[in-house]
Amino acid sequence: MLAVTYAIFSARFGKNIYAYPLYLLSGIIMVNFFINTTFYVMKSFYEALPMMLNTTVRREVILVSHIPIPLYKFLIELLFCVALSVFYGRFSPTMVLLGLPIIASFTAFILGVSLLLALLFCFARDVEHLWMLISRVLLFISPIFYELKDISSWARKFVYFGNPLTPFVISLRELLMGRFDAASYAYSLFLGVFFLALGYWAFCRLEDTAVERA
């Protein structure tokens, strides 16, 4: 996928971007991790219904247990990014230390969004199809192929503040490029905590109703 995307976009968008393969790959794996995990966890509440109705295992444990496999795949893919970072001479040990909170925050963000989607899925099945459309839109409004400075100032604000994936993509990618974007970094940590708290709060309030409605 990286090769195809690189072949298509490098001439148009990647001309002025240093280490474009690393730029592309880091964005692609982050957005993929988000989309795949939210889809996987969204249906898990419904699919694990027999377990929820017939055992006393805590429901959030059942949902959280769906996170480690996609996370593991994401971390493996991230190793390729680190290898590219080494190849371009951008790697530093500090980047690993600064990257860990971002990965934790990104996982928390994904879990929070997934909890919200899993609840919604119990109330309306077509949420799955709606989310498929929304996630495609998110893919294109994330700065994966292009840089924020290449788009209009209105679009830039929309992509940065309207799409919660953007600060995560920027902050982790900047670290892989050997740079540090403090604003995006702080914004990412805030978003991770905020979405996890929101998702868990909604889950605690609605889990009983969702189990009966699913």
Binding site: P50, N54, T55, T56, L120, R125, V127, V211
Partner: protein, 249 residues
């Protein structure tokens, strides 16, 4: 509360069943137009019951009488719509026998999986593995994939794991639906040994004989209400007479 395992006071449970197919657009339309998307279904009506610690209670009733819903309420899986349920300790439940099993894994791996769900620790399960498999009559199948077993064998395994993991408050629903009479007779003593000794047991079944052998008290549920509560043999006798009377009509 110390002496009581469960106190249920005027417990009612309603469910909402769909009037239409549920989609996001219908949900939004229903919210905007204030049209009810669901209709109410009353499953349990004003149930009041107290079960003391160490008591063994059978729950009988026709299909749809509310037995499983009552057991789920007692287990804390459902919350009552109205009324209050207080439990002394967290129960260990066996409400269906296939939950937590994986068809592609071996019998021995499934013992660990199922054991984890009912609160067993890996070390203790490894220690008790021989006893669990022997009680289920599956000692020779330990490395076979679960999909090679019959429904009855899987239920025997599920029951064996359940009875051989720690717990003083047990809730069981139709735990013998698929097992043969031979297994029931053979394991009767083992079951008696496991479920006695101060344990609180609540079990629902359509096997009146089995219930009468193990439980001194029974509750008969009829259309979501308690119709009779008392001596197990007497309640089951009345229940079976009522079922025979309905069948004769």
């Amino acid at each position: 509360m110390n002496e009581n395992a469960i106190i249920a006071e005027n417990v009612s449970k309603h469910f909402f069943i769909l009037r239409h197919r549920e989609t996001a657009f219908r949900v939004i339309k229903a919210l905007l137009h204030k049209e009810p998307l669901m209709k109410k279904l009353r499953v349990l009506h004003n149930i009041s019951v107290t079960i003391k610690q160490g008591e063994r209670v059978a729950v009988v009733g026709n299909n749809g009488a509310g037995k499983t819903t009552l057991l789920r309420l007692m287990a804390g899986i459902y919350k009552p719509t109205t009324g209050l349920i207080r439990t002394g300790s967290e129960p260990k439940v066996l409400l269906n026998f296939w939950t937590g099993f994986n068809n592609d894994l071996s019998v021995i791996d499934n013992v660990y999986l199922r054991g984890a769900i009912v609160g067993g620790e890996r070390k203790a399960l490894t220690h008790d593995m021989k006893v669990i498999l022997e009680m289920a009559g599956l000692a020779t199948f330990m490395y076979s994939p679960l999909k090679r077993l019959s429904m009855g064998q899987i239920q025997r395994l599920s029951l064996s794991v359940f009875l051989n993991t720690p717990g003083d408050f047990l809730i069981l629903d139709e735990c013998l639906a698929f097992v043969d009479k031979g297994f029931i007779i053979k394991s009767d003593a083992a079951i008696r040994e496991k479920i006695t000794g101060g344990k609180t047991i609540i079990m629902a079944s359509h096997d009146g004989e089995f219930l009468a052998r193990h439980c001194p008290r029974a509750i008969w549920l009829d259309e979501g209400r308690i119709r009779m509560d008392g001596d197990c043999r007497r309640v089951i006798c009345e229940y079976e007479r009522s079922v025979a009377g309905q069948a004769a009509k």
